[in-house]
C-alpha cells in the first residue's frame, strides 16, 4: 500500500509544523498557488509505521551478505554515522565564516592529507559528489591541462572494453571521442592494441587497477610509458582501490589523476543509491586545475579556503558548496579509526576473502573466468556452461540466491565475460558467511540440474516475484494518480 492510500482529508502530523499559519497577504495573488499539492495527509505514527515496514522489504549490508562486485559493500561502522551527526557538524552553515569553521575544516584538511598519502598523489580535492562526478572532474582537468599547453588537437580518450559505463559517458560529457581497446585473454590490457591506438590525438586513458575483471593490471608501467610518450595522461578510476589500499599506490604506478569512491573504500553508506563522495587526487602537473574549494592551512595552524582567487586555473566549482561534507566526515572518522595499519589490513583481508571464495567455488565445480590469475578483492565466475547446458542463466542464479538470503553479486558486468558473476566479499565478512554463500551456490547448481524451473522462476520467497521490466518501460507509470 502506498502512503497516499492511507491519506484522509484533514489528517496531519500536527507537532511537525508551526501552530498557526502566518499571512502571505503582501504577495500578489498572481504568484500564489491556488490549490495545495496532493501530498498525503497522514499522522506521524502512520508515517513511522509505513516507512519502517517498507524498510523491511530491503536487503542491506546490515541484514544480508551483499557481495556486489565493484561496489565494496563492507560494514559501515555505526560510529561514523553518530559522530558525523553531532549537532555541531549538522548545524554548520556552508557559508559560515572561518571563525565558525575551524573544527570542520580541520577534519577536511586531515582527510585531504590522508588520501594524498595512501594514494601517492600530490594534492587532493574533496569536492566531487560521487564517483561519476570525480571522473568528470578528472577528465575535465586532463582537458584543461592540454588546453593550457596550447595542445588542442587531442580529441580522444582511450577506454578498455572492460571499463565501467561511466568512463565512456564521462569522456563524452567532457567533449571527447571514445576509443575502445581490447583486453587480452589473461585479463590485461592488450599492449599492442594500445600502442597502435595512441597518437597525437590521445588526450588520455581511463583505467581501473585492479581492473574490472578482478585482476591486477601487470603491465601498468608499460601502459603508463606508452600513453605518456604519446603525450597523453593517465586517469585512475578508484572503483577498486579497496584491493590495494596501503599496498601500492596509483601515484607510484604513474597515474596523473585519480578519483576515489569513499562510499566504497572508506565505508561510507550507500544509502540505497547515494550520497557518495568522489574526491580527486592529482600529480604535480595537474595541481593548478583541481576543483575548488579546498582547505589549506597557514603558518599559524589556522585553516582557510582555496578558491578561484588562489587557483585561477582551476576547472572551477562542481557543487553549490564544498561537496558532500557529511559523507566526507564519515570517511574521516573511518580513516582515523583504521589508521596506517588498519588500511593495509583492509587490502589484505579483502584479498584473502576473495581468493578463498574463488578457490572454494572452483573446487565446487564452478568456472572462474581467469583461473590462472590471482583474484584481487573480487573475481569473476562465468555461468556460460550452465546457461548452455542447463538453460539456467546468471540472472536465474542471481534471483535464486535472493531466496537463500544472499544479495546477488554483480551480474552481466563486465560485458566481455558471458553470463558472469562479479563477486566481491569485502574484508568485513566472516568465514562462515563466505561458506554459507558457497553452499548456496552448490545447492542452486544442484537445483539447476534436477529441478531447473525452480531456479528459472526464482525468487519465490521475496515480497514480489520477478517483475515485468518490459511493461514498466512500455506502459510508463511513474507516479501515483488519485482514484487508481
Amino acid at each position: 500500500m502506498l502512503i497516499f492510500e492511507q491519506s484522509r482529508p484533514g489528517r496531519r502530523a500536527f507537532a511537525q509544523a508551526p501552530a498557526r499559519k502566518a499571512a502571505l497577504d503582501d504577495i500578489p495573488a498572481e504568484f500564489l498557488r491556488d490549490k495545495p499539492p496532493a501530498l498525503p495527509e497522514v499522522s506521524e505514527m502512520q508515517v513511522v509505521r509505513h516507512y519502517t515496514r517498507l524498510s523491511q522489504k530491503n536487503f542491506s549490508i546490515d541484514t544480508q551478505f551483499y557481495p556486489l562486485g565493484s561496489c565494496t559493500m563492507k560494514y559501515n561502522p555505526r560510529a561514523c554515522n553518530s559522530l558525523a551527526m553531532l549537532p555541531g557538524f549538522l548545524g554548520r552553515h556552508p557559508l559560515a565564516p572561518l571563525t565558525h569553521s575551524q573544527g570542520f575544516m580541520a577534519c577536511m584538511f586531515e582527510l585531504q592529507e590522508l588520501l594524498k598519502e595512501v594514494t601517492g598523489m600530490s594534492e587532493v580535492s574533496l569536492v566531487p559528489a560521487a564517483g561519476a562526478q570525480g571522473e568528470f572532474t578528472g577528465v575535465a582537468m586532463i582537458r584543461a591541462y592540454h588546453d593550457a599547453q596550447g595542445d588542442t588537437g587531442r580529441t580522444e580518450i582511450i577506454v578498455p572494453d572492460a571499463a565501467h559505463g561511466t568512463n565512456p559517458a564521462t569522456a563524452v560529457m567532457c567533449g571527447y571521442k571514445v576509443k575502445e581497446i581490447p583486453t587480452d585473454a589473461a585479463g590485461d590490457v592488450d599492449l599492442e592494441a594500445l600502442q597502435s591506438a595512441v597518437g597525437p590525438q590521445t588526450a588520455g586513458i581511463m583505467l581501473t587497477n585492479p581492473s574490472t575483471v578482478g585482476v591486477f593490471e601487470r603491465n601498468i608501467e608499460q601502459i603508463a610509458r606508452i600513453v605518456h610518450e604519446a603525450g597523453g595522461l593517465l586517469y585512475y578510476d578508484g572503483a577498486n582501490l579497496n584491493a590495494i589500499l596501503g599496498k601500492c599506490r596509483p601515484g607510484d604506478m604513474g597515474f596523473d589523476v585519480i578519483h576515489m569512491n569513499l562510499h566504497k573504500t572508506f565505508s561510507t553508506p550507500h544509502g540505497g543509491g547515494g550520497p557518495g563522495a568522489g574526491p580527486v587526487g592529482v600529480s604535480e602537473r595537474l595541481k593548478p586545475f583541481l576543483p575548488v574549494p579546498m582547505v589549506a592551512k597557514d603558518g599559524y595552524g589556522d585553516y582557510y579556503w582555496l578558491t578561484e582567487k588562489e587557483r585561477p586555473q582551476s576547472i572551477g566549482k562542481l557543487m553549490t558548496f564544498a561537496g558532500n561534507a557529511g559523507v566526507l566526515l564519515r570517511a574521516w572518522i573511518y580513516a582515523r579509526m583504521l589508521g596506517r595499519e588498519g588500511m593495509i589490513r583492509v587490502a589484505d583481508h579483502a584479498t584473502l576473502n576473495a581468493n578463498y571464495m574463488a578457490r572454494q567455488l572452483e573446487k565446487a565445480g564452478f568456472d572462474l573466468a581467469y583461473p590462472q590469475r590471482r583474484a584481487t578483492h573480487e573475481f569473476i565466475v562465468t555461468l556460460r556452461r550452465q546457461a548452455k547446458e542447463l538453460k539456467v542463466t546468471a540472472m536465474d542464479f542471481a534471483k535464486r540466491l535472493l531466496d537463500y538470503g544472499y544479495h546477488a553479486p554483480t551480474t552481466y558486468f563486465p560485458l566481455l565475460v558471458p553470463e558472469c558473476f562479479l563477486i566481491e566479499p569485502t574484508e568485513t565478512e566472516a568465514r562462515e558467511e563466505l561458506d554459507g554463500f558457497i553452499e548456496a551456490m552448490k545447492a542452486i547448481q544442484h537445483e539447476a540440474e534436477t529441478e531447473p524451473d525452480t531456479v528459472r522462476s526464482a525468487p519465490h520467497t521475496l515480497p514480489v516475484r520477478r517483475l515485468d521490466d518490459v511493461r514498466a518501460a512500455r506502459e510508463l507509470d511513474l507516479k501515483w494518480k488519485a482514484g487508481e
Binding site: R12, G91, A132, Q133, F136, G271, G274, G316, L467, D469
Partner: protein
C-alpha cells in the same frame, strides 16, 4: 582488528584452502618495486572512544551560531522521525536497487518521492534526484540542448539573478560541450529579470531560458511572462525553484500558458540539515515529452509474475551502464538517502505543514527586514514581493559588520559585494521559521551598535581570513 572478523585460525584455514603460505603471497602479481612503503603520513589508528572525543571537540569548536544566512541552504526544523527512519540500516546500508525483488522498500519509497515531487511542482515526471541544486541546473541545460528540437543552438539564457554558484557550476559542467551561457541582467529596482533586456534576444536562437523562483535575492520573478516569452521564441523554459516555496507559490507546471518544460531545484529545504553544504539533493522534473532525455534513475510501477504490483528501475536505456558513451549523463549514484529523508519529511508535513513552514519563514524574514531597515542608514534594496530572503544595504562594508557580529555568535547573512559589486554594501538575509522574535531582536541590536560605532572608529581587528566557499 577493527572491522575485520578473522581469527588467526580463520586466516590459517583460508590460506590452506587457497594453497598459499601467507597473505603476502596473494599480492605476488604486483611488481615488487611498486609496493608502498610505511605510509608515514598516516597516523596510528584510534579507538571509537578516542575518535569520538576528537570529533566532539571539533564539532563544538564551530559553535552553534544564530544563523541568518540562507543563500541556497536553509535552517529549517527537521522532524525527529525523518533521520531516525532514514538511518535504519535497511535504507542506510542498501545499494542502488538493481535487484528489484530485494529492494522493494527503497523502490516503492522512490516511487512515492516521484509522486510527491511531481505534485509539488505540478509536473508530469520526476527522476529520483541528482547531486545538488547547482549540478541539477547543469544537467537541465544539457537536457534542454538535447531535447529542444526547434533549436539548433547550444546557447542558453541565464538570468544574473540566478544563484551565482549555480551559474559557476553550470559553466564548469557544460563548457566542454561548447555550450554557451548568456547572462540576462536584472532590473535594479525590482531585483528581478529585466524583461526589456530579454526581448533584445528575441531574434536569436537559444535552446532555453532559465527561470528562477524565487531568485537568489529572494525576489519573485515574473515567471508567467518569462515562460511564455521563452515558448514564443522557440525556447524551452527551465524552472529553478525552492521546493518549499512551491507549497505556497504557483508551481512551475502552471507558469504561463503551458508551464515550464524542465524544473530543477535544491532539495535541501525538504529535510536535509545544513551540514556544511552537503549531502543535499538535486530535484529534476520535466514534461512527459522530455522523459527520455532525462538523466538519472527513474522508478516505474509494474507487475510481477503473479500480477502483483511492484516497482523497478525503468527507462534504463538512457543510462551509462547500458548506453555507455551515448548515455544522457554519466550520473550513476544519486543522493538516495537524502531522497529517503525528503520523502518521509514531505509525508510528515503534508501540504499544510509545508505551507505553514513556508509562510512562517516568509513572515519572519519580513519581520527581520522591517527591524533591520529601521536602523539608521540601513535600507532595503529592491521593491516587490519576496519569499523568505531579502537584500539590505548597510552604510559600511558588509564584511566588517558581519565579522563583528560573528564575534557575538550571530551569522548576519551573505555578503553580496563580491558576486554583485554593483549593489554596493549589500547583504542577503534570511529568517526561517526557526528564528524567534527574540533572535531577530538580538541580531538587530547587534547590528545597530555596529552601524552606530562605525562612524566613530574603525573596526578594531582586520579579519585574518575573509573567504568562504
Amino acid at each position: 582488528m577493527p572491522f575485520i572478523p578473522h581469527t588467526e585460525d580463520d586466516v590459517r584455514h583460508m590460506l590452506e584452502a587457497i594453497g598459499v603460505e601467507s597473505i603476502e603471497q596473494l599480492f605476488d602479481e604486483i611488481p615488487a618495486h611498486l609496493r608502498a612503503g610505511d605510509l608515514p603520513g598516516i597516523p596510528e589508528g584510534m579507538s571509537e572512544m578516542e575518535v569520538g572525543a576528537l570529533a566532539h571537540s571539533r564539532a563544538r569548536r564551530d559553535g552553534q551560531a544564530l544563523c541568518f544566512i540562507g543563500a541556497g541552504a536553509y535552517d529549517h526544523h527537521v522532524p525527529a522521525a525523518v533521520w531516525q527512519l532514514a538511518t535504519r540500516g535497511e535504507y542506510y546500508t542498501a545499494y542502488t536497487p538493481y535487484q528489484a525483488e530485494a529492494s522493494q522498500g527503497t523502490l516503492q519509497l522512490l516511487y512515492e518521492f516521484q509522486s510527491m515531487i511531481t505534485a509539488l511542482m505540478d509536473m508530469d515526471v520526476s527522476n529520483t534526484s541528482l547531486y545538488d541544486g547547482a549540478s541539477a541546473v547543469a544537467e537541465a541545460i544539457l537536457m534542454a540542448v538535447r531535447g529542444n528540437r526547434k533549436s539548433k543552438s547550444k546557447r542558453i539564457l541565464v538570468p544574473r539573478s540566478l544563484h551565482p554558484a549555480y551559474r559557476k557550476v553550470a559553466h564548469t559542467i557544460v563548457r566542454n560541450q561548447q555550450i554557451e551561457l548568456v547572462e540576462v541582467p536584472f532590473d535594479s529596482t525590482t531585483g528581478t529579470t529585466d524583461l526589456d533586456a530579454l526581448t533584445r534576444y528575441a531574434d536569436e536562437d537559444f535552446a532555453a531560458l532559465v527561470v528562477p523562483q524565487p531568485n537568489f535575492f529572494g525576489m519573485l520573478e515574473p515567471v508567467d511572462a518569462m515562460t511564455d516569452w521563452a515558448h514564443a521564441n522557440g525556447m524551452l523554459a527551465i524552472g529553478v525553484v525552492n521546493p518549499l516555496a512551491m507549497s505556497v507559490l504557483t508551481p512551475p507546471g502552471q507558469w504561463g500558458e503551458t508551464g515550464a518544460d524542465i524544473v530543477v531545484g535544491e532539495g535541501q529545504p525538504l529535510g536535509a540539515p545544513l551540514s556544511s553544504g552537503g549531502p543535499y539533493f538535486g530535484i529534476m522534473c520535466s514534461t512527459q515529452a522530455l522523459v527520455r532525455q532525462m538523466p538519472g534513475r527513474i522508478i516505474g510501477r509494474t507487475v510481477d509474475l503473479e500480477g502483483r504490483p511492484g516497482y523497478t528501475l525503468t527507462l534504463q536505456a538512457r543510462e551509462q551502464h547500458i548506453r555507455r558513451s551515448k548515455a544522457t549523463s554519466n550520473i550513476c549514484t544519486n543522493q538516495g538517502l537524502l531522497v529517503t529523508a525528503a520523502t518521509i519529511h514531505m509525508a510528515l508535513l503534508g501540504a499544510e505543514g509545508l505551507a505553514r513552514v513556508a509562510a512562517a519563514s516568509h513572515a519572519n524574514t519580513r519581520e527581520l527586514v522591517g527591524r533591520l531597515t529601521a536602523i539608521d542608514g540601513v535600507e532595503s534594496v529592491f521593491d516587490g514581493p519576496c519569499f523568505h530572503e531579502q537584500v539590505i544595504r548597510l552604510p559600511m562594508p558588509v564584511r566588517d559588520a558581519l565579522k563583528t557580529i560573528a564575534a557575538h555568535n550571530v551569522l548576519g547573512g551573505f555578503d553580496l559585494s563580491e558576486d554583485y559589486p554593483e549593489l554596493g554594501n549589500a547583504l542577503l538575509v534570511c529568517a526561517t521559521e526557526q528564528r524567534t522574535v527574540e533572535d531577530i531582536e538580538h541580531y538587530a541590536a547587534k547590528l545597530e551598535r555596529v552601524v552606530a560605532a562605525q562612524g566613530r572608529a574603525k573596526c578594531p581587528v582586520e579579519p585574518k581570513f575573509d573567504t568562504t566557499p
